[in-house]
């Protein structure tokens, strides 16, 4: 009998643990949003987070977007030429970058760069008792550490997505102009004419959602880190994996919400 019930018990334990984690993350997110909308505000921490999450992510977002846009143009040209539809390159690059690749690439870059650094920093603060020190100094760690970072993710990542979308289209335009013999101004005109407001809105909404997820995961796993170097390492790894998976899942749900007819 034990042979039969043991796998079920193990499965039940995993499900319960997953549900408990979902509950904890949800409560953590609600507490974070409450701290974002209620004073006091630590202005210096907010500015620091805006710079760290937003401004300093520009190079990696820009480079990723340019190369991805260029590669996308080459692929669409190669695919389109099989059906004599090479001229759709500008439209498909624009649609692909703005609706999907721009936000997803930026989101994943955030998970790699921002989630990991937030989780490692907060986890290190936890194991060296800096979080306890904050509490004894009458400072709520959620308000001082989490709220500024998640706010920065919500505000700056849509802007980064806008930059990524623009540079992704530029990458496609540059490759099309130099290697695929497209007319530069016609390419840009086709791009602008084809894009519609919902495409851009969906891109920015995805940016805000992915920025929120990336920063929230870094803060949650950092705050709940285990002890020692191993605890910090595990918190960092888990936060990045959780952020990446949640970003891709949220992307599917948001695409369905915006474009499924």
């Amino acid at each position: 009998m034990m042979v039969l019930t043991r796998p079920l018990a193990a499965l039940g334990a995993v499900v319960l643990s997953a549900l408990a984690t979902i509950g904890h993350v949800t409560l953590f997110a609600l507490a974070t949003f409450r701290h974002i909308v209620t004073p006091p505000y630590y202005v210096r921490e907010y500015l620091h987070a805006l710079v760290h999450v937003g401004y300093l992510s520009l190079p990696v977002v820009g480079l990723t977007a340019v190369f991805t846009g260029g590669a996308l143009a080459l692929q669409i040209f190669a695919g389109g030429s099989r059906y004599g539809a090479e001229e759709v390159v500008p439209q498909i690059v624009a649609l692909g970058v703005v609706r999907e690749l721009g936000p997803v690439m930026v989101g994943l870059m955030m998970a790699a760069r921002v989630t990991s650094s937030i989780a490692a920093e907060i986890a290190t603060m936890k194991v060296t008792e800096q979080i306890d020190a904050l509490v004894t100094l009458s400072t709520d760690p959620m308000k001082y550490l989490t709220a500024p970072r998640v706010f920065a993710g919500l505000v700056t990542v849509p802007l980064l997505v806008a930059v990524g979308d623009t540079l992704g289209i530029f990458g496609g335009w540059f490759v099309s102009m130099n290697t695929l013999d497209f007319n530069p101004s016609t390419y840009l005109k086709n791009t602008v004419d084809f894009l519609e407001t919902p495409d851009i809105v969906s891109s920015l909404v995805k940016g805000a959602a992915f920025g929120g997820i990336a920063t929230l995961m870094g803060c949650y796993f950092g705050m709940n880190s285990g002890r020692g170097a191993q605890g910090v390492g595990r918190a960092t790894k888990t936060s990045v994996v959780a952020a990446a998976v949640l970003i891709l899942a949220a992307n599917f749900l948001l695409t369905q919400a915006f474009f499924a007819t």
Partner: protein, 249 residues
């Protein structure tokens, strides 16, 4: 001033505190001694509210800490020196010291806060030249002094010291012990220290409490510690491997 009554705390199935009873009078320097894992740090964190006890009551000036309405005002009465100093890496030394003076209910103008921070640094034997350094640029002993300056920055009524000499060479440990004794005396503060460094105990304590297996085993004046008949206390202060306290070999 601080009283613990039947405080219990377990983490999962592991019982750490099994009914701690302890009273610390105003202006008294009490040192809790005991082996590793006996619950010294947990006791301290329970008083500060960093850990919630499973049962029992903790009162400060007769007021139950769980019933304290204004948490900010409650914590403003405390200063704490952490074992590893717990300085904030991202802030320069003076902002670490003046952390409480730069935000919250005790907020002062920046220039005044810096002035106080430099004065507190001077009190712990550090010059103004370290004020703009970052914690990573300091040695362990210097970090501990900065931690001490931060603990006394807002002139607290109660100061906690968590293993104040751990990781320091004997001379620096002696300097920190002297500083703690001087500061506690001149401020008239109530001090609660946890340590297993017996030199520290003799330098800092008015009263000593020995924690063993989650309970206060012995509590009395430091002057009576050496003549006490408790075999557990005797084994601990003499550092003997023979006695009732189990040791792993």
């Amino acid at each position: 001033m601080i009283s613990l009554d039947g405080v219990h705390k377990a983490f999962g199935s592991k019982e750490i505190l099994r009914g701690v009873d302890l009273n610390v009078a105003r202006g008294e320097s009490c040192v809790i001694i005991g082996g590793s894992g006996t619950g010294k740090s947990v006791t301290l964190k329970c008083v500060l509210g960093l850990i919630t006890p499973d049962s029992g009551t903790i009162k400060v000036d007769g007021e139950d800490i769980t019933a304290t309405g204004d948490r900010d005002a409650f914590l403003a009465r405390f200063g704490m020196l952490f074992q590893g100093a717990a300085l904030f890496d991202s802030l320069p030394v003076w902002q670490n010291v003046a952390f409480r003076l730069l935000r919250g209910s005790l907020k002062r103008p920046k220039a005044e806060a810096k002035e106080i921070a430099i004065e507190k640094l001077r009190r712990v034997g550090m010059g103004p030249d370290v004020a703009d350094l970052f914690p990573a640029e300091l040695s362990g002993g210097m970090q501990k002094r900065v931690g001490l300056a931060r603990a006394i920055a807002a002139d607290p009524e109660i100061i906690f010291f968590d293993e104040p000499t751990t990781g320091l060479d004997p001379i620096m440990a002696g300097v920190i012990n002297e500083l703690i004794r001087e500061i506690v005396t001149e401020m008239g503060a109530t001090a609660l220290t946890i340590t297993h460094d017996m030199t520290s105990v003799r330098a800092i304590a008015d009263k000593v409490a020995m924690l063993h297996r989650g309970k206060i085993r012995w509590h009395g004046p430091v002057s009576e510690m050496d003549t006490a008949e408790d075999p557990y206390l005797h084994q601990f202060i003499t550092g003997s491997s023979e006695g009732p306290i189990e040791t792993l070999r």
